[in-house]
Amino acid sequence: MVNELNKKSKYIIGYLYLIPALVIFILFTYWPAIYSFYLSFFNTTTSTGHAIFVGLSNYAYLFRTGQLPYAFYTAFEYSLVRFIFAFVISIAIFAWVESRGKGLLKNVIPLLVIPILALSLVYPALSFWGGNIYMILLWIAFGVLSFYFVKEMTFLKSHTTLFLLSILGFYIVAYYIGNRNIDLYDLVFTIAQNNSFIMSIWNTVYFVIIDVPLTIGISLAAGLLMKNLPFFKSFFRTAFFAPYVASIVAVSLLWLWLFNYHYGIFNFMLSWFGIPPINWLNSASLTMPTVAILSIWEYFGYYGLIFLSGLQNIDQEYYEAAEIEGANSFQRFMYITWPLLSPITFFVMVVSLINAFQVFTQVYVLYNQMPGPYANSGLTMVFYIYNTFYNEQQMGLASAAAYVLLGIIMVLTLIQFRTTEKRVEYNI
């Protein structure tokens, strides 16, 4: 009985420790998360002052496409042909790599590879009739056929990213060598011109694609350098981390000055190489890259430090063993550092992706509270949410947009979890 009471009071003490922080989390994280979701089904800008239940129409409004210049399926058709072309070629290449030195697939793969390569040579001519239904059926048949082989290919499974990159690469190739008519890309871009929310997704994704890989690459390099340098370690550590300490407003202000068209140091440095000055801050196509440069600069030291802490935690014995085996530094990186670092890489990937999707302040300061110099070229998702909520006072619509952002982040994080699940090695 006493023991029972004692146990209960122990539990209560445990919960008491949680209370302050938990209250804050409930009040300012969990409850708002639910409340936003609820709000996203209401229209809050009514003259009556009451929120009116509107169902999914906030979401529908966000993704309205307006009048399209051409049919969706035409664009889709072209894209599909290109995609299957890229897919088939990539499979063929991976199959060829796979079949080297293996008896099992040796006989089957060439059967697939040769006709595909032959077909791809005539692709430019064939794609001339891009709209031809037989053409599409033929390509789909090849796609299905090659997909059948994917199941048996282990090399492909262990190099998913490479495979996706290869598809992307061949897609671009297909776009340029074939009949450059229309593409899903053009369609989405056209829709984005008319719909500022789709524009904001477009810009944000563009930013993330530039920002995240470069940030990870540079911060990994910074982490490796900080670990391997024999002298001045702490100097470089301080130097790399310094930008992170400054506030984004101050940093954006600083880069506003560095990017200045007439007197900025960047255009001056370009002039050393005879490059004419670039209008960094007043060009729609350079808006997101400019913001990305700034963001990479701001955050690479922070992520570098996280990489460094991961590197420090790798057991030195692995390297000593590798040295005895005669592994060179590249091999040591590829077979020890990279696999053992994968949990950190994964962490940095997730965190930097989440951060990158929330880009806002840089644009706000660099472009004087406007979403880019013109044509909404700097309208990011958070900017859209901020604008809808703060300037237009449409809480419901802003919540819906926020939930779309959350959805995108969640889906991408899940994909990252799934794709890296097998490869992240948690055995440090």
Partner: protein, 567 residues
């Protein structure tokens, strides 16, 4: 052999590290550098590293104001009534005494556009004549000579129409020699459409029939700055005499002689004007700024200098009974000298002006208060929660921990709208609560601390319990000191997050009194325009506390990261 290879590899490592370090701190160095520069140095191309603000002296580009219209009066020498009058009628009234010369300072040398004069130090002003010597002024002005020269030039004819017109206009001033001289030079050289304006005078000359053969000789005079100088006029008159001899056409002859007479008239008068200036300045004028006053103290000056003051970017020097018209053709050189403290003041000038042009004091206080409060609450709450997750047992512990960890995946921008409504309904908009309370627990810090507490052996906790220590006491006297690096890391991260938070503060507050530095800085950017030296100064001083905090705690910070072993 192998050692050699290793050396090469290290060499490349260092090259890469240096490049990356330049990429990282180069912009920050440039920011601090820019913050010390003058306006003119910021807007100069190519950019340079140094700044004249660090120099003990500098040359200021300056002009003598050649008309009286722009002069405003010496406010201290006016009656209150006159002062009010001059204020209400803008700058059009010319109340200045004719004995006051106005010097327009264009700023530091090499500057184009309006400049600001540093209002400290001493100014050495030298009036210099065209030969490069110190200028001279008349001590014995003879009115009879003046009358003689006026009647002399009035008798010259024929003259070109412009000159004829001007001379007849001037005749109204014959009783007032100074006014006559001023208007004479105004008409010929310095007015809005002067007779001896380079392009017009030469073009008019070339339009005369028969002069086109002198095209080559005359066109040279079109090049140059300002109106035609005395020497040039003499050369032109020689060419004209030559032309006069060559032509036979009487109408052309008459036309040319008109121009020739114009020049002769001017040179005659100029001769008289120069002859009057007999006494040379024996030394330059040295003036010192008086703090918070527009009067200038005369440090060292020739005896005729009576007083001096400044207004806007002009310096006014009043002479004793000597009109400013006697320095119309002179140049001025202004050199500013500063002692050590004044150099220091110049150096940090942008910081002072930036600080004063927005309520940065309030922003600073708010930032420090909010960041410190957030950090303290964070440490307390996070330590408690992390300790419970690590060392205490109760049902659902790990599930709650996972739920807390999951919040790291939810971006706070997604919750902004709902949070605004919640804080609004709590009545916290525009209060410190809105800036502090929602941020007083951080999932990432809880995670870091839990990792750290996990590394404390459970035996230690059990031993403490047996000794009669409560879990609360164990936490604060043993567990926390043992995980100091991680706690400092957590504190720095939350401090940094709070200090740099922007969107949240922007939305949750709307008055100056509640805003923190990032939002204040953003307002300053919007309001001040593109004065990049002051903007950089403001950016620099918003960073200073966090930079100091980081440098001070850096060691713990790094080891805290390692210790936590993010896995």
């Amino acid at each position: 052999m192998k050692k050699q290879k290793k050396k090469i590899i290290y060499f490349f490592y260092y090259v890469a590290a240096v490049i990356l370090a330049i990429f990282a701190i180069g912009p920050l160095v440039w920011m601090v550098d820019t913050s010390f520069k003058t306006n003119s140095e910021v807007l100069s191309y190519p950019p340079s590293w140094g700044t004249i603000n660090a120099m003990p002296s500098r040359n200021l580009t300056a002009d003598i104001v050649k008309t009286r219209a722009g002069q405003s009066s010496n406010p201290s020498a006016l009656s209150l009534e006159a002062l009010l009058g001059s204020l209400s009628t803008a700058q059009t009234t010319t109340l200045a005494s004719p004995d006051t010369i106005a010097i327009h300072v264009l700023g530091a040398s090499g500057y184009r556009g309006t400049g600001t004069m540093p209002r400290r130090g001493t100014l050495t002003i030298s009036l210099i004549n065209n030969e490069g010597d110190l200028a001279s002024y008349p001590t014995k002005f003879s009115t009879s000579d003046f009358n003689k020269v006026v009647s002399e030039i009035s008798s010259i004819s024929p003259l070109s129409n412009d000159v004829k017109q001007s001379i007849s206009n001037l005749s109204q001033y014959t009783s007032d020699p100074q006014e006559y001289i001023l208007n004479f030079y105004d008409a010929f050289l310095y007015g809005s459409n002067p007779i001896f304006s380079r392009i017009n005078f030469i073009s008019n000359l070339l339009n005369v029939d028969g002069m086109s053969s002198f095209q080559d000789q005359l066109a040279i005079f079109k090049k140059g700055i300002g109106p035609l100088k005395g020497i040039e006029l003499k050369e032109i008159s020689k060419i004209l005499e030559n032309a006069l001899n060559l032509t036979t056409n009487p109408s052309v002859k008459a036309e040319i002689s008109k121009y020739l007479n114009d020049i002769t008239l001017y040179l005659d008068f100029d001769q008289f004007y120069k002859a009057q200036k007999q006494t040379k300045f024996d030394q330059p004028i040295e003036l010192a700024f008086i703090p918070k006053s527009n009067q200038l103290k005369i440090v060292k000056a020739p005896s005729i200098v009576e007083s001096a003051y400044t207004s806007g970017d002009q310096i006014y020097i009043t002479f004793n009974n000597t009109s400013f018209v006697w320095f119309l053709n002179d140049n001025v050189s202004v050199r500013a000298n500063y002692n050590f403290w004044e150099v220091l003041a110049n150096f940090f000038d942008n910081y002072v002006s930036a600080w004063n042009s927005a309520p940065f004091g309030i922003y600073y206080f708010n930032s420090i208060f909010v960041a410190v409060a957030t950090t303290v609450l964070n440490i307390i709450f996070d330590v408690m929660m992390a300790f419970a997750f690590s060392k205490l047992t109760f049902p659902g512990r790990d599930k709650i921990f996972m739920a807390i960890l999951a919040t790291m995946m939810i971006p706070y921008t997604v919750l902004l709208v709902a949070n605004y409504l919640i804080i609004h309904s709590l009545g916290w908009i525009n209060t410190y609560y809105a800036l502090i309370i929602p941020w007083s627990a951080t999932a990432f810090v809880i995670f870091l601390m839990r990792q750290s507490f996990n590394s404390i052996p459970n035996d230690l906790y059990d031993a403490a319990k047996i000794d009669g220590a409560s879990s609360w006491r164990f936490l604060w006297t043993i567990a926390v000191p043992l995980s100091m690096p991680v706690i400092i890391t957590g504190a720095l991260l939350t401090f940094l997050g709070s200090w740099n938070s922007f969107l949240w503060v922007l939305i949750m507050t709307d008055t100056t009194n509640m805003r923190t530095l990032p939002v204040g800085l953003q307002n300053f950017i919007i309001n001040s325009g593109a004065i990049f030296n002051q903007l950089m100064a403001a950016a620099t001083f918003t960073m200073i506390p966090v930079v100091i905090a980081f440098l001070f705690f850096q060691k713990y910070f790094v080891s805290g990261f390692f210790r936590s072993g993010i896995k």
